[in-house]
């Protein structure tokens, strides 16, 4: 049964418990930061920060100020570009939907970094490997919720069967729209054949920095992978030729 996290932005108070709980469970360090005019910090996801809360000041349809919050992390796409381009199999799919990452066999090629349509996967300069949210498989497979979900005080984050969360999300969207929240919408049901991190949004996706139509991005990294494949073919052939040459000489 496919599992997912549902992020209901209309219930988020931006306490950032999820951001800290993630760091704690996964042993991520604090990054050096400076206040730069917004409550947001760190300013982007990174190898040390797998989940973060965005703070967005925006004018609503009625011209009134809104302060929107979004707890953002890896979307665990069904059509996961990162997984498709990973040459070593370090990125792999859990049966229940999570795109997990086996650090031991990551070779640091960074194709996934380039391929991710959400800009989520981050390269870790220290380890020479990549990092991202893995949906806490060590917790989930022990019957717990991901750390961020357990921490969330307002149920802005919930975890469960993806189908059930979808109906929960649709109910919520209908409720919000009935209350006059015209921008309320579900994100992640069909995007990339379905995300395993779903969102109830109150504005259009790009207000939150989410692509309106995320694309399976293998195409965009294809040239480089083709190049590298071609390069290895060329190298292989060259080596073969060289060995042959040497061998030939030896025989001579």
């Amino acid at each position: 049964m496919a599992k997912a996290i549902l992020v209901d932005t209309s219930k988020c108070i931006a306490c950032r418990g999820c951001q800290v709980a993630c760091k704690q469970w996964h042993g991520r360090r604090a990054e050096p930061t400076r206040f730069q005019g917004s409550y947001e910090n760190p300013l982007a996801l990174s190898a040390q920060t797998w989940r973060r809360v965005g703070f967005i000041e925006t004018a609503g349809g009625d011209g009134r100020l809104r302060w929107r919050f979004i707890s953002d992390a890896c979307k665990h796409c069904t059509d996961a570009s990162c997984l498709a381009v990973c040459p070593t199999g370090a990125l792999f799919r859990r049966t229940w939907g999570a795109v997990d990452l086996n650090q031991d066999i990551c070779n640091g090629c960074r194709y996934c970094v380039a391929a991710c349509p959400f800009g989520i996967v981050a390269f870790n300069e220290e380890s020479g490997r990549v990092n991202k949210c893995v949906l806490c498989p060590d917790r989930v497979e022990a019957g717990l919720e991901p750390a961020c979900v357990t921490t969330c005080p307002t149920d802005a984050l919930t975890f469960g069967d993806r189908d059930q969360l979808l109906s929960q999300a649709k109910r919520r969207v209908a409720e919000l729209q009935a209350k006059g929240e015209k921008g309320a919408q579900l994100y992640g049901e069909r995007e990339l054949s379905g995300l395993h991190q779903l969102f109830v949004l109150q504005e259009r996706p790009q207000v939150y920095g989410l692509p309106e139509q995320p694309r399976f991005a293998v195409a965009s990294v294809f040239p480089s992978s083709v190049t590298s494949v071609l390069a290895s073919v060329v190298m292989g052939v060259t080596a073969l030729v060289a060995f042959r040459g040497r061998g030939g000489k030896g025989e001579e």
């Binding site: 951001q19 604090a30 302060w67």
Partner: protein
């Protein structure tokens, strides 16, 4: 919390956190609950899911406003004008709950014909002595001493008509000119909340330090109390005036009297002048009517608990051992005295006054005047390190400083009393590291070692300390033993009393805090450990979870949840009701029954004398719409002591009874030099002075620096860029911060004037991982007239590019 105490009878959150889910409207004002109470905020969201409307009134658009259905801005320090406007709206449009107001409050009482209000003063103002003579602040009485009433509320001398006239000046136009709240936005909030005036509807008001830290804070809370009484929102599920406490055990520390003016259970602290003998104390402090007639039982039982066998009938139960107040020892007074060199030593535990205290420049200087200072802490705080703070030459500081390592709350057990008055037992999760010790251990050791030091002394001054009972163990105290003493017991057999109803004034019972009585009703039965929760779909009374004072009542004044005939205003949210058929133990019939413990005499029928008086702690049993405090019996808007504008409601600029301290470092700012209103607040990411949180890297990562929030308009005027350093300056000092230029702050249009406001969090200091200036270097030593809490939510500054 005299604002609530004077109005309703008890100074405590009337309802509890879970009950917020039962509200039809939630007004959050003077609080940023989503920011500062993120866990408990889920109950606000639960109310919204059941259809409640959330209203946020705040100088800036906050994390709470982000979730609100309606937001209205107001200039800091004008909350009474806003709430007064709401009262006027409710009265003018007849939106109040007529029967509730007439029956359950003192609205129908007739006031002394000489009482009145003119030009900003109530009758009795003495301009020479700068104080009030309260002679006219009283009711007309019948021959038997009870107040005269006019049930029609039409008599011009009724409290109701005075209220109507008093707030008639608080029109929506006036609100706009005073508060800077656009009229339309004010009215939207007023209308939405006033809908809870319909019988059966409930609205809750949630407030915190945004209301308590003003020079007229007590009156501000009174204004909310009056509004809630008019709307019939007190004593009902989903109603109340709910004080959100800033720490897990603030209610507990107030209940247990970690304050100078009270003894445990809100018994007034005796003073040398007024209470020379026990008889004098009891005579003067015991009202003739209302539940407080039992005060002698609570007071004598307290003396018996503290002085044990040394407290006898013949020696006034050791009353003379009890220290008597001879001056005001509230927070700022202590620091003023310290600054004047009148204090020798200071023990600080769980507090960091060098960051949290107003006018911290003065308070840090005051620490230099001490001979010794003991700080118990997890980290070396600014208070412990004041001698090496900015601008201090350690060689010139003579104070001897002892820094003792303390355990965290997770490393000790004990009971905590939450905002909703629930005593909950907490177990320790781990042993403290190294030499770190719990608060209980420290208190126990201090007492035991001082006792050893004084042992055998014959000096009369030492007798009181030697007589103090102290038997809780040798190392860590046995906290259940302490709780059992707090609960109370019969002296003869040392058996726990079941509740305070069993306490006596003859020395036969002992009780450490009468309001907690019932928490330990039998040997081994610690009700703070009860853990039986109600199902989620219920009202959430949770009578089986922890113990709520008094006697496990969850919603105070719940007699008012039923109409005068004893039938609930709202059947779906019924708390208690009169059951004429229910049988009493003595075989008679008729009692109050329901899901909550009645806050009422259980067998007092609705039609009996006093059967319709829900506010049992008040002498007349009625809610106090009219209730005297230092600066008057009704609230009135005055400007903050530091304000950029003239008071439009009268010629009296600031609260005439505000406490303004006058040491050389106590300066007040001229609005010409400091034209910008400033307020202080907290953030989710840091706790108070940051003594712990500014040492935790994950939290520092999220909120690394001190910042100052301001509007785009002000930033443009001053040439300030978002994210750039700025200097914020008041008459007391200046701080360096980073500008947070935001649409969430807007300039206030007051008539033809524009007033700017900035906000600055007060978590920073010069120690820890995240260092920064303390916002309290800007705030004044100005106090509320009744509580002397500092006015740190509205003062004046100027801002410039750094």
């Amino acid at each position: 919390m005299p604002g609530l105490g004077t109005s309703f009878g008890r100074g405590a959150m009337t309802n509890h956190w879970i009950d917020v889910k039962n509200a039809d409207a939630v007004l959050i004002m003077g609080s940023n609950a989503a920011e500062n109470h993120p866990i408990a905020f889920k109950w606000v969201l639960a109310a919204m899911e059941r259809g409640a409307v959330l209203l946020s009134v705040d100088p800036r658009f906050s994390r709470t406003s982000a979730l609100a259905d309606l937001y209205a801005p107001l200039r800091s320090g004008t909350d009474i004008a806003f709430l007064g406007g709401m009262i006027n709206h409710v009265l003018r449009n007849n939106l109040f709950q007529r029967e509730y107001v007439g029956e359950y409050t003192n609205a129908s009482f007739l006031l002394d014909p000489a009482f009145g209000f003119k030009d900003g003063y109530f009758t009795g103002w003495d301009p020479e002595k700068k104080t009030y003579d309260r002679a006219t602040w009283k009711f007309q009485v019948e021959a038997d001493g009870t107040p005269k009433q006019d049930g029609s509320l039409r008599d011009p001398h009724t409290v109701f008509q005075h209220l109507r006239r008093h707030f008639a000046r608080y029109t929506p136009e006036m609100v706009e000119r005073v508060c800077g709240t656009p009229k339309a936005e004010f009215l939207r909030v007023a209308e939405a909340f006033a809908r809870t005036g319909a019988p059966g509807k409930a609205g809750t008001i949630m407030y915190a330090m945004g209301w308590t830290q003003h020079s007229k804070a007590t009156q501000l809370i009174r204004t909310a109390a009056i509004l809630q009484m008019l709307l019939g929102n007190i004593g009902v599920a989903g109603g109340g005036v709910n004080a959100l406490r800033g720490l897990s055990n603030v209610q507990g520390s107030t209940d247990m009297a970690l304050l100078f003016h009270i003894l445990p259970g809100y018994l007034g602290m005796p003073t040398r002048k007024d209470h020379p003998t026990l008889a004098a104390y009891l005579e003067k402090e015991t009202p003739k009517t209302g539940y407080w007639v039992n005060k002698p039982k609570f007071f004598v039982s307290l003396l018996r608990a503290w002085y044990g066998e040394a407290a006898t009938k013949d020696n006034e139960f050791a009353y003379q051992y009890l220290p008597k107040n001879s001056a005001n020892y509230s927070y700022m007074d202590l620091f003023e005295a310290m600054y004047a060199g009148k204090l020798k030593g200071f023990i600080v535990t769980g507090q960091n006054p060098a960051v949290s205290g107003p006018n911290s420049t003065l308070e840090r200087k005051a620490l230099e005047k001490l001979e010794w200072l003991v700080v118990r802490e997890l980290f070396e705080t600014e208070t412990a390190a004041f001698w090496k703070g900015p601008g201090v030459d350690p060689a010139k500081v003579q104070t001897e400083v002892f820094l003792l390592p303390s355990s965290t709350h997770l490393e000790r057990e004990g009971s905590y009393t939450n905002s909703g008055r629930w005593l909950q037992w907490k177990w320790k999760a781990a042993d403290p590291p190294g030499d770190a010790r719990s608060d209980g251990w420290f208190a126990n050791q201090l007492a035991l070692r001082l006792k050893a030091l004084y042992a055998g002394s014959r000096a009369p001054t030492d007798r009181a300390f030697l007589a103090l009972t102290w038997d809780y163990g040798k190392e860590e105290p046995d906290l259940e033993k302490v709780l059992a003493e707090v609960n109370g017991y019969t002296v003869a057999d040392r058996k726990p009393v079941k509740s305070f109803a069993f306490l006596a004034d003859d020395g036969s019972t002992a009780c450490g805090n009468w309001i907690y009585s019932g928490v330990f009703p039998a040997e081994g039965q610690n009700r703070a450990k009860s853990r039986k929760a109600d199902p989620p779909e219920s009202l959430g009374i949770n009578a089986g979870w922890a113990f709520s004072w008094p006697v496990n009542r969850r919603i105070l004044y719940n007699r008012a949840s039923a109409d005068p005939r004893g039938k609930p205003w709202n059947q779906e949210k019924a708390l208690i009701w009169w059951d004429a058929e229910a049988e009493l133990p003595d075989g008679k019939k008729g009692k109050w029954v329901g899901v909550d413990v009645p806050d009422f005499r259980p067998d007092l029928a609705p039609d009996a004398k006093g059967g319709g008086n829900p506010f049992i702690m008040r002498p007349d049993g009625k809610g106090g719409i009219f209730a005297p405090l230092a600066e008057g019996p009704l609230p009135e808007h005055y400007e903050p002591v530091e304000s950029p504008v003239k008071n439009l409601l009268s010629n009296v600029q600031a609260n005439p009874m505000a406490v303004i301290y006058k040491a050389d470092l106590d300066k007040l700012g001229d609005p010409k030099e400091f034209p910008i209103v400033a307020t202080t607040y907290r953030l989710t990411e840091h706790q108070h002075t940051g003594s712990i949180t500014r040492n935790l890297p994950w939290l520092v990562e999220m909120m690394p620096n001190l910042f100052c929030e301001m509007s785009r308009e002000l930033a443009e005027e001053k040439g300030i860029r978002n994210g750039a350093p700025v200097i914020v300056r008041s008459a007391r000092g200046e701080v360096r911060a980073i500008a947070a230029v935001t649409g969430r702050f807007k300039p206030f249009k007051l008539g033809d004037r524009v007033v700017h406001e900035v906000g600055i969090p007060w978590h920073w200091g010069f120690m820890g991982l995240a260092k920064g200036d303390s916002a309290n270097m800007l705030t004044p030593h100005v106090g509320d007239a009744n509580t002397r809490i500092q006015e740190s939510k509205a003062f004046l500054v100027d801002v410039r590019k750094a």
